[in-house]
């Protein structure tokens, strides 16, 4: 193993400090607890194996997050989860009847948006996550997801349009 001068206590401390961040990244990327666990395990095994490559120029958590993000997006690319699925979204759309819903509180609205976001196909959900949560630029997202920047923008547009339609039906009004 390439753990260098790190003792097992060091590794445990590093794990305690970062495990929530990595596991929750897995949940955001894969929406599945089993897969998030498997992903987090892969990340830590690889990270501890490459500890001798960590030069200490940045914080360990930054280095680990970058490694995890690379591994997560590679996994997504290998699983070919970034293909627009025809018909999956339209099938769920119902005629809008906003008047039948009461206005939701702000907290409820946020929860509804998060639920609806989780229901979006990966191809629309992941660009939104990477842009708004990870604060990546369009060019970086396009490169990481191996799509053209124009395609990425169309995914973002489509994702927001679908969400907007669905949320209107659920009483979330801007």
């Amino acid at each position: 193993m390439g753990q260098g001068n790190y003792s097992e206590e060091d590794l445990e401390r590093l794990y305690q400090e970062t495990s929530s961040m990595i596991y929750n990244l897995g949940l955001r990327l894969f929406r599945d607890r089993e897969e998030a666990l498997d992903f987090a395990q892969d990340v830590y095994v690889k990270a501890f194996d490459r500890l001798d490559r960590f030069l200490g120029r940045s914080k360990f958590s930054t280095w680990l997050y970058s490694l995890a993000m690379n591994m997560g997006l590679n996994r997504i690319r290998k699983q070919k989860r970034l293909k627009p699925e025809q018909g999956d979204v339209e099938a769920r759309s119902l005629p809008s009847s906003e008047d039948h819903y009461e206005r939701l509180s702000e907290k409820e609205e946020v929860e509804v948006i998060q639920r609806e976001l989780a229901e979006l196909p990966d191809v629309y959900r992941l660009p939104l996550l990477l842009y708004y949560y990870e604060k990546m630029s369009y060019s970086e997202i396009a490169e990481r997801l191996a799509v053209k920047e124009g395609t990425l923008k169309s995914y973002l547009h489509r994702g927001k349009t679908i969400l907007r339609d669905r949320l209107s039906q659920k009483g979330v009004q801007p």
Binding site: Y133, L156, P174
Partner: protein, 168 residues
Amino acid sequence: VTREDKQKKPSPRHYIDEIRTDPQAIPLDGWRHIHNCSLCRREWRFVVKLERAINELPQEEVPRILKQSIWRNLREPALRPVFAVWTFLVPILALFLAPLIIRYFISLAWLPLSPSWELFFILFSTFWGMVLVTAMAVQILDQHKSLAEKLEQGVEQILPGSKHDNFP
């Protein structure tokens, strides 16, 4: 203003597509329009709500099993070979075959080489074959070394009074 005049007046340019696609590309005039246009303003408010909802995505507690499985994996790595057998055999075969192939072509007069060039090519191909084989050998030895270290750690953990007693 007559109805005809109204019909002739161009409809205002909305920025809904830009808001959904790339808000950073909206020009200053566009933002002025968004400020004054109820349709675009609603769209922008939706994007702000979406951003807030994404930034406030709930965090889950990490299951205990994750730590156990990571440490189990670190202690008992799968004993898988680093390279498939063929990746080791091919350079060895190349090492022996390359000089023979060069010699064969020379004998057919396809490669009109002087004896010194012939020797050079044979030595050159042999050299690179040896480099490849050495690189493979180093990798395999390194893998065995790290496996031996892990086994040693495993033995330490099961011995009474081991320094790893409190380890998960």
